[in-house]
Structures are given as structure tokens and as C-alpha cells.
């Protein structure tokens, strides 16, 4: 962990940015453990407590992954939007790194939603896929952030990459509410958001538990990616100091 020690002793960390000490790996691993336990617990709870669905039977259990995944994907993209804004405002590279990590995890979760959704759709709707706005717009969301990530891959200059992906991330996040509302705007096969009142409380409990568990997982992954990126940057910075001697090492 010496690298981390260096990080924390480094004085030139701009104020207002998350301090790397927050990412002491021990803390992260602990969080990971908690998230794992929560996830397993929530799933068990959901599976045990909730009765098999009337017409879907045990298939309905998919919901406990499908839905939390979807919700947390939205959360991740929200993080992308906020940190992109922060970057454009503050020009602090850390915000860019955070946005990137969140985008990666968000894309994965969206992918999960898609896959599970279509697995679920096969028995319930009789097809893997149908051109229903909710489905399509979710796929679109997925592709938007695939685009975001590939943009990052194709641009070397870190500053340029940061600014461009901040812009793209922001515009992309504009689409999240559209996806969410798509169900309302277009009459669709996919069911609309239901309020706890319309859903059997047992389902609500399971859903809530899993949503929280997924949130923890989300945080864990984002932190891990973010921290890795930070450490890479720190290594570069150290090379920088080495390369320049002490002269002119005061990076902006």
C-alpha cells in the first residue's frame, strides 16, 4: 500500500476533490464485503418471502435483479451527469475519472437489465425482444454510454478526453429521464412504474432490499474503478516529478 501512502502525503491535491485517503483499499474491501452480504441477504429474503407470482411463477424472481439493476443504472448515469458538470465547472481531473468509472458501471448494469429483461421476456411475452419503446430506449441508453466509453478510448490527450467526454456524458444523461418516461409517453407492452400501493407489499420489500443491495454494489465498483484510475494518475505524476526534477513540477 506504499503507493497509497504517497498519494495521501502528496500535498498538491486540489481542495474540493475527494481525498485519496478515502480510498484506502482496506475501506474499499470492507465496503465490498458488506455489499456482497447485503446482496445475498436481499436475494434470499426476496426469494423466501415473496410468494411465486400468479401467472409468472418463480420466473418473477428475475424482477429482483432486473429492476434494481435498472434503477441503479439510472443512479450511475446521474453520477456521470453530476461529475461531468463538476468537471466542466472546476476543471478537476478527478471529476472526469469519477464520471468515467460511473459510466462503466452504469453501462454494465444497463446491459444486465437488457439481458435479464429479455430472458424474462422469453417466457412472459413469448419473445426475446420486441420493439417496445421501453426496451428500445433502454438499449439506446446502453449504446449512448457505449459511445461515451468508446470516445474515451479513441482520444489520447487526457485533457481533451476529459472535456469531450464531459460534454458527451452530460448530453447522454439527458436521455435517462426520457427512457424513464418512455413508458408513460408511448403505450407499451412493458409495464409502467408501479407505486407500492399497486404492488403486493411482499414484492415491495424484496425490491427495496435488493435496490439497496445493488446500490452498495454500485458504489463499491465505482469506487474501485475510480481509485484505480486515481492511482494510475498518481504514478504518472510521480514520473512527472522524476522527469522534471523539481523544476516546473507544479501541475496546474
Amino acid at each position: 500500500m506504499r503507493d497509497v501512502a504517497i498519494v495521501t502525503t502528496e500535498s498538491s491535491i486540489p481542495s474540493g476533490s475527494l481525498h485519496p485517503a478515502a480510498f484506502r483499499s482496506r475501506g474499499v474491501e470492507a465496503l465490498g464485503a458488506v455489499a456482497l452480504v447485503a446482496l445475498v441477504g436481499a436475494q434470499l429474503l426476496a426469494i423466501l418471502v415473496s410468494p411465486p407470482d400468479r401467472d409468472m411463477g418463480h420466473l418473477q424472481k428475475i424482477m429482483y435483479v432486473h429492476v434494481p439493476a435498472a434503477w441503479n443504472a439510472f443512479v450511475a448515469f446521474f453520477v456521470v451527469a453530476v461529475s461531468s458538470l463538476l468537471y466542466l465547472w472546476r476543471r478537476n481531473e478527478r471529476h472526469d475519472l469519477l464520471a468515467a468509472s460511473a459510466a462503466e458501471v452504469g453501462a454494465v448494469l444497463t446491459g444486465l437489465t437488457l439481458v435479464l429483461g429479455s430472458i424474462w421476456g422469453r417466457p412472459t411475452w413469448g419473445v426475446w425482444w420486441t420493439w417496445d419503446p421501453r426496451l428500445t430506449s433502454t438499449a439506446v441508453l446502453f449504446l449512448i454510454f457505449v459511445g461515451y466509453l468508446s470516445l474515451r478510448a479513441f482520444v489520447e490527450d487526457p485533457e481533451r478526453r476529459a472535456q469531450w467526454s464531459a460534454a458527451v456524458g452530460l448530453l447522454g444523461a439527458l436521455n435517462v429521464p426520457i427512457v424513464y418516461m418512455s413508458v408513460r409517453w408511448w403505450r407499451t407492452l412493458h409495464q409502467t412504474q408501479s407505486s407500492p400501493s399497486t404492488v403486493d407489499p411482499q414484492y415491495v420489500l424484496g425490491l427495496r432490499a435488493n435496490a439497496i443491495a445493488f446500490l452498495l454494489v454500485l458504489i463499491y465498483f465505482v469506487y474501485k474503478r475510480y481509485r484505480a484510475a486515481l492511482l494510475e494518475r498518481e504514478v504518472e505524476r510521480l514520473n512527472e516529478i522524476a522527469a522534471l526534477g523539481n523544476g516546473g513540477a507544479h501541475a496546474r
Partner: protein, 238 residues
């Protein structure tokens, strides 16, 4: 504003400029000062960081570390003001090949908001007046450089950054470049010229700065006798 009008303000001041491309350091802390009216020739082996240095001075690149000022304006934070004073002459002419010489300059004039009346004398000067209605696509290497030079003058720059300006120019063109540099300096401007042939540089430069591996190796006053001599040679040969 006051900063830019002060008389004692250096035309260019760089302090510990460093620039990294990926993991490779092109510049490792370059500091130098350029007084108004002064011309400095930058020499150095291939890959020593000359072009990178000029790009940073014209705000086309941002330094990874270090700071710089042109006539008191900060190269990064006041880029807009810097761009009004600085002109960069790159390896490539950067013209629109499907437009004619005239159209290229008219576009530049509008972007810099200068009157179109300034275009004709410039085209005359760089010797492209006859070709003004022809597409740049068909221009020879040197003709394109000449047009790029005209565009650069359109901006009435006070700090010239010329990257190997003599390439592709015939002897007459080389004299043209030298005149331009002298002119700007007499108007109280300054110039930084990348050259490989010290003899060519000596024709206009007051100072030679030698770069090596992104560091300033030497910063010497040009030998005046050398300049005289090079003039002589020039006369003998052209």
C-alpha cells in the same frame, strides 16, 4: 489591458514550461524571455521540442506544467487576448484547398475582422496576385507557404512564431520572410524562429536559443560578423 500596453512588458515570458505527450516529455522546463523588438532563433536536433514550444506559445497546446505570458497576457487563462497578438507559422500551410487564394484570404480577413482592402497588397507582396483566382489545391508547396504567410500578416501580429519558415521558399521567398520578420520587430513586435541552418537564422536573429531533449542547452547572442557574412554570401549567390 494595461499589461499589454506597458512598455517594459516582455513580448514573451516562459517560466519552466513542460509538456508531456503520453509518457514522453517533449519539454522539460523551458524558461526564456523575449524583449519587444527582439528576434530569437531556436535551434536544436530533431525531436528536441522546438515545434512543441511554439505550439504552446500560440495557445495551440497547453503546457503540462509551467506558465507563460505574451505581452503580459497569460497563455492559458487569457488565450483569447494572446491570440490577437500572436501568429503561428506551422510546418503545414493549413489552407482550404477548394477555395482560391483570394477566398482563403478573404475568409481570414473576416475572421480577424480586417477590411478586405488589405488583401490585395498582401497578395501582391507574396507574388500570388496573378494566381489569386486559382484553387489552392493546385498550388505548389512554396506557393501554398507564400499564401499562408500572407494570411499570417493579415492579422498584424506583434509576436511571430515561425516554425522552419524557410522551407519550400525560393531565395526571393526567403528574403520576403526575413523582411517580414525585420518589419514586425521594427514595429516593436518580436519573433521566435525555428531554424536548422544557423546561417539562415543569423540573417535576422539577435539571439540563438538551442534546445536539446526539451531543455535549453545554450542561449547565446548571435555573432554579428556571422550575420554580415551571411549577407555577403547571400549577395554572392543570389
Amino acid at each position: 489591458m494595461s499589461t499589454s500596453t506597458g512598455t517594459n512588458v516582455p513580448a514573451l515570458r516562459l517560466s519552466k514550461i513542460a509538456r508531456r505527450y503520453g509518457s514522453r516529455w517533449a519539454l522539460r522546463g523551458v524558461s526564456l524571455e523575449l524583449a519587444p523588438g527582439e528576434t530569437v532563433a531556436v535551434v536544436g536536433h530533431n525531436g528536441s521540442g522546438k515545434s512543441t514550444l511554439l505550439r504552446i506559445c500560440c495557445t495551440a497546446l497547453r503546457p503540462t506544467a509551467g506558465e507563460g505570458w505574451a505581452y503580459g497576457w497569460h497563455l492559458v487563462h487569457q488565450a483569447a487576448e494572446v491570440r490577437r497578438l500572436v501568429a503561428f507559422f506551422a510546418h503545414v500551410p493549413g489552407l482550404y484547398e477548394d477555395l482560391t487564394a483570394w477566398e482563403n484570404l478573404r475568409f481570414a480577413a473576416r475572421m480577424l475582422d480586417r477590411p478586405e482592402s488589405e488583401i490585395e497588397p498582401l497578395l501582391q507582396r507574396v507574388g500570388l496576385w496573378e494566381e489569386r483566382q486559382e484553387r489552392v489545391r493546385g498550388f505548389s508547396a512554396g506557393m501554398q507557404r507564400r499564401l499562408a504567410l500572407a494570411r499570417l500578416l493579415l492579422g498584424r501580429p506583434r509576436l511571430l512564431l515561425l516554425d522552419e519558415p524557410y522551407n519550400n521558399f525560393d531565395p526571393a521567398g526567403i528574403e520576403l520572410v526575413n523582411d517580414v520578420v525585420r518589419e514586425v520587430c521594427e514595429r516593436g513586435g518580436a519573433a521566435m524562429i525555428v531554424v536548422h541552418d544557423r546561417r539562415q537564422g543569423a540573417a535576422v536573429a539577435h539571439r540563438f536559443v538551442e534546445l536539446a531533449d526539451g531543455r535549453v542547452l545554450s542561449d547565446s547572442v548571435a555573432v554579428p560578423e556571422a550575420r554580415a557574412h551571411s549577407r555577403a554570401v547571400a549577395q554572392r549567390w543570389f
